[in-house]
């Protein structure tokens, strides 16, 4: 069996699919930069940018890194640390925001 012939994996996408994903990535990047410059979006800037970034991240991981068609075990190897890392990031942000709030309350009291 040559390299790349694995019984638990489906065939990779066609060049046409790769081009469509690239087009979507370019459109999403243009939207991100556009949202950044349009004042009307500033109220929802952070959630909008995070959603657009997550979409780009998912497209690359699913199609270019082939997680959509590869073995679910690879998704686990990538997803578990990513979940852990995201949890640590959120916990740290909450911890620091919490500390700031407590300091503010103590100072105000």
């Amino acid at each position: 069996m040559a390299e790349g012939d694995h019984p638990n994996e489906q065939a990779h996408p066609s060049a046409e699919t790769y081009l469509r994903v690239a087009a979507a990535l370019v459109v999403l990047t243009v939207l991100e930069v556009g949202v950044f410059y349009v004042p009307a979006f500033h109220a929802v800037l952070v959630p909008t940018l995070l959603v657009l970034s997550a979409l780009k991240f998912s497209l690359v991981v699913l199609f270019y890194m082939h997680l959509k068609m590869d073995s679910p075990f690879f998704s686990f190897l990538f997803g578990a640390p990513l979940l852990l890392a995201t949890g640590v990031l959120v916990a740290l942000l909450l911890l620091f925001f919490g500390t700031l709030t407590l300091r503010g309350a103590a100072g105000g009291g």
Partner: protein
Amino acid sequence: MTHAAATHHTSMGLDSRKIAFWAFIGSECLLFTSLISTYLVYKGRSVVGPSPHEILNIPFTSVSTFDLLMSSLMMVLALAAVQRGDMKWGKIWLFATALLGLVFLGGQVIEFTEFVHKGLTLQTNLFGCTFFVLTGTHGAHVTVGVLWLLTLWVRALQGKLGPGHALTVEITGLYWHFVDVVWIVIFTVVYLIQ
């Protein structure tokens, strides 16, 4: 010309090198998240300037982001060409990927130089320290990726890389795409959300 490399299948029917590489990418997620967390935690706490909104050049970085996204496209096209045995296009796409990586690195060198001239260094403030460590670590990863791609390209020119080595190209691609997704996050978190 080429000899199919020995396969390393596990009892799960998956190649052990690919499993090891995905585990490595998982560990890299933790590394970059720790750097991004540090950046975010210290965001807005610099006592002296320059601050992000004074110094970051969004149009310039948007072009760098576009460049890196296109390099990912070149990488998957290189893999597809190698898998179907079209080594002529395989070599072209591999070189194009490395070239776009070099363009990205050139952009980063220009950006860093400009920042230093404007007074932002590792020692200036918390923003400078966390920014240079995060983007510098990413740049170091891009450098490794470019060297890896050029090595594959040279091996392809020598006739030592063929369809039998598709998994080697795929693993290189996994690394390159991971570097790309890390930049997708950095571009949003550091540059756009100021």
